[in-house]
Amino acid sequence: MRLLPTKPFSRASLAAPVAALIGLGAVVPMAMFLVISVYSVDFDSYTLQPNFTMASWREVWTHASYWILIGKTLNNGLLAVVMTAIVGYPLALALSRLPKSAKGAALVILLTPLYTGEIVRVYAWRLVLGQDGLVNALLMFAHVISEPLRFLLFSPFATHLALFYDDLPFMALALWVAVERVDSRLIEAARDLGCRPTTAFRLVILPLTGPGLAAGTFMVFALAGGEALAPNLLGGTTGATPMTMIDNLFGTAFDWPTASALALTLLLVLLFAAFLLSGLALVLSGGLRPLRRSFA
């Protein structure tokens, strides 16, 4: 006699809807781009010609201008990761020490900027960083500077600041979850055995939150590297990204094959770099061993 009902489905099958969505929304389009990338365009009739050619791949892989743009997104992602991690750790530690009752409110506050929408945030930055913006006005008022700082807006500075601000919640959240899981007695034990607070962080908290840092790195790198709007609208002449290029190629130029080749190249480079960077975060934090252990 069976006392327990038979299992209607396995645990793994719960992932099926998401798998279907990813297949439909990401894998299928990517496959289509892959096909289109080896087509050519007849610019007289503006139609895609299904004849096999590697011309668009050659175009993308041999022209430095594409790689300068790809390098820029890598740089955007890397800087965002480093800055969000440096600010995110103290933030996560502070959040983890809040009383339980305050944590819900802290979470809402942390995520509120995400609700404002990107366009709103971009124009808010213009108000803050512009020539007549808040920062310049305050610094002038305080007689710290005699004329407005010009590097604040339409500059790499503005791009990096906006990316940092946009992506900080994701890094902070990943680190917060990781820090919460570190038993506070381990930190006390480290202090007890002779660590100053900073040493305790380096020797205990950092390794034990390494997997969280790696996850945050992966997310922030993808978000910041894939960002087009903020660099475009805040970075000025320096703000071009492969996304704008892809947009132009698809839309204005009707060069779908080159756009597809560039998009796929960018995807591969970003993915590779994200794995590399996350792995690096895991190794440098000393978090590789705890991660292995949790899967053991």
Binding site: R185, L208, R289
Partner: protein, 360 residues
């Protein structure tokens, strides 16, 4: 100077710790405590959960700061001294071994921090050998049993050569056999190291087995301090008597005090018994009646009273018999098996009882 005349190594005066923000809601975890701990003594803070014993340990370690009062180590105030600069190490209740470090790296942790001279590997091997864990140096904490983790935690704490080792219920998570075994090892280790141990437990048997001195705590205060045998024989009040030795508190009326003994009237009769010197005729008192003070006897014996057996528990070398006398439920030890419901006669040996104040 401590009570036994030894040099006072660690001193607390008026030590208080309050938790919570608003003054009206503040809970006093430690409510004004004075104590002296000797340099080589094994001292145990014994009390029920929530009595403040762990808070005192955390104050000594430096994880908490006193709300009032102060701690002095060899006469020097510990106020504002962070944990890492106190010559004190802790064995945590849950061991708190670093999960990302091997046993050897856990033990070497404090030595590597100090970049101490000499051969770290040799010292680590020595410390692990001292706790019989030499062959586990390359394991990770999650690969060890509770008892093994506890030994590593002790090795990690003692390799730092503290002047004072704090142990927060280090054996409470272990099974009874392992607990008894490790009690012996800890006591042995304390003798060999010759340093002060401050041990926190709620288990009076453990406290008796280990301690030179016991501080019995309740509600944030130290209720009684003394040697285990003194506290057992002469509890200052019914809380201590109940917590330490169990037994039954028989209501008693003090008729006459005579130094170390008193004449008392109880439902079981009139007795002269050892008594707390703080008692007087107006005191609310109780007779502490432990199993060893009750004897089965013939109905015709002097002082005999009738009882009915209500329960029998087999203890291996003896039976613990529950007996009802009027509305009192007594317990005593018997070598012979009695039947539940049997009518028997009991008498008590007043020399093995104690008259103490009702209170906590």
């Amino acid at each position: 100077m401590t009570e036994n005349g030894a040099y006072s190594f660690l001193t607390a005066r008026g030590l208080c710790k309050a938790y919570g923000g608003k003054a009206s809601k503040r809970a006093m975890a430690v409510a004004g405590v004075d104590f002296d701990i000797g340099e080589r003594a094994f001292t145990t803070l014994l009390g029920p959960s929530g009595c403040g014993k762990t808070t005192i340990l955390r104050l000594i370690a430096g994880f908490e700061h006193p709300s009032a009062g102060e701690l002095r180590l060899e006469g020097v105030s510990l106020a504002g001294v962070p944990p890492e600069r106190r010559p004190v190490n802790t064995v945590f209740q849950s061991y708190a071994l670093f999960p990302h470090l091997s046993v050897a790296d856990n033990v070497a942790f404090s030595l590597k921090l100090r970049r101490s001279e000499g051969d770290i590997a040799r010292k680590v091997a020595g410390a692990l050998a001292a706790v019989h864990m030499a062959e586990y140096a390359d394991r990770f904490p999650h690969e060890l049993s509770g008892g093994q983790q506890q030994r590593v935690a002790v090795a990690r704490a003692m390799i730092a050569e503290p002047r004072l080792l704090l142990l927060d219920e280090p054996l409470s998570a272990l099974d009874r056999k392992m607990r008894l075994h490790l009690q012996g090892e800890l006591k042995d280790l304390q003798r060999r190291l010759g340093i002060a141990f401050v041990y926190v437990t709620h288990d009076q048997e453990e406290a008796f087995a280990l301690s030179d001195f016991i501080f019995v705590m309740n509600k944030g205060r130290i209720v009684q301090t003394g040697r285990p045998e003194d506290i057992y024989a002469r509890p200052v009040n019914t809380f201590v008597a109940d917590f330490i030795g169990g037994g039954v508190m028989v209501p008693a009326e003090v008729r006459q005090c005579a130094g170390a003994s008193a004449w008392i009237a109880t439902p079981l009769g009139l007795y002269e018994a050892p008594a707390s010197p703080a008692l007087n005729a107006a005191s609310q008192a109780a007779l502490v009646l432990r199993p060893e003070a009750l004897l089965s006897c013939a109905a015709s014996d002097a002082g005999a009273f009738a009882a009915v057996v209500s329960s029998v528990v087999f203890r291996g070398d003896r039976f613990t018999i529950g007996a009802e006398v009027g509305d009192l439920s007594l317990r005593f030890n018997s070598e012979v098996l009695l039947d539940v419901g049997a009518r028997i006669s009991l008498r008590l040996d007043p020399r093995k009882t104690f008259v103490t104040a009702v209170g906590d």
